[in-house]
Symmetry: C2
Subunit: 231 residues, 2 copies
């Protein structure tokens, strides 16, 4: 109220429509305080009242679905723009580096933490991206082939995303975007070296543990070319 944003035409960057302003405020607020944040807080951030929020979005759940759709479209759009390795996790890292995408990434982290449809969609996409990226690496001769490529892609995606969620749960950043971006960068810094070391040299000196386990659980994962329908 005290800042210079009363005139909707002269705001710093936006003649955004009111529903868009509410949605952006909701992404920001939900990302910072979690989905337990109240409608009145979101409304206050957008400079409106709680009644107007449900007038435009029907209910709190409708607002959240609009947020989900919006951030998912951002992810999909930016993925085609930015050339990365195709991994959605790498994309997240890229996005978190850009100032204006900090609320989006924060909302994504919150959403992955809470579970739900958006989280499942994101994780599925990350798994598919990792699978394709690893397969390309195998074809190029830089990644070792796996006994079960799908399981490996799933494993790596779950580990990467999950560790990030745990990290943010243990070290919650302050409310401002800069603190979140710094925390994200700190996490990447801390994780990169051990991850690369593990990827480069493994952990065990021989395969005896793996072979013992594979003997104990002898099922091959149906890696034949025509047996992929067993699901």
């Amino acid at each position: 109220m005290a800042s210079t944003e009363r005139d909707p035409e002269h705001r710093g960057g936006g003649d955004a429509t009111t529903p868009d302003r509410i949605r952006d405020a909701a992404v920001d607020r939900f990302g910072r305080d979690g989905f337990g944040a109240g409608l009145r807080a979101v409304a206050a951030d957008a400079g409106v009242t709680a009644g107007l929020v449900v007038h435009h979005f029907g209910s709190k759940d409708g607002l959240r679905k609009a947020c989900d759709a919006h951030v998912l479209s951002i992810v999909r759009t930016e993925k085609t723009k930015v050339l990365t390795d195709g991994s959605a996790l790498t994309l997240l890292t890229q996005l978190a580096g850009a100032e204006r995408f900090a609320p989006t990434v924060r909302y994504l982290v919150r959403s992955l933490q809470a579970g739900g449809a958006l989280a499942a969609a994101l994780v599925d996409q990350m798994i598919a991206d990792a699978d394709a990226y690893l397969a390309a690496g195998v074809a190029a001769g830089v990644v070792r082939p796996s006994r079960d490529p799908a399981a490996r892609a799933r494993y790596l995606a779950h580990q990467n995303v999950g560790a990030m969620l745990l990290w943010f749960g243990l070290h919650p950043p302050a409310a401002d975007h800069a603190a979140f971006r710094e925390q994200f960068r700190r996490y990447v810094d801390q994780v990169t070296a051990p991850a690369l070391e593990l990827f480069a040299q493994g952990l065990l000196v021989d395969r005896s543990m793996l072979d013992d386990y594979l003997m104990y659980v002898p099922d091959p994962p149906t890696e034949g070319p025509a047996a992929a329908a067993a699901h």
Copy 2:
């Protein structure tokens, strides 16, 4: 109310005192529904009223602290009893296999997901355990030495715990203990083979990526014997 547990002396397994019964009910309810569960729900599970809960524990936060202390003492007690590799994560897997510890493990998962003091303590303990276990493996010649053993232990603990949290967020089990234990077992089954494969053979065919990164970030992690005070 309708079951045969009115007489506090003839219950199946317990002349437990009333605060203990309330605490156990809280562990169960918080583990299943999260810490947003209401005091009245906990009280109903214990067969008492909400007022009595705050009479014994002061407040909801006091109740939660009592739950934290209780499950932490269980973890510490069982760790000395069960001989595992010392990893708290392995202990979790063992505990989740025992019927009567299912609520405890479920509460631990919830607590790790929510963050807070108990989560930090658990993760710190897991990191310390992993560090010791890996060091012993290195000394025994079965684990490859690391450029930064502390960072590797932290990395592995975060990845393991985080992936488990993400898994339970994406595939929430039903309310009963059996469903939770089955979900836990399913996760372990799915994760073991790819993890062992990665540990045994790594992911990359050569060390060029790692060496490139280490050249780009040339700081050695102060692995000298007397330079550990830089924190």
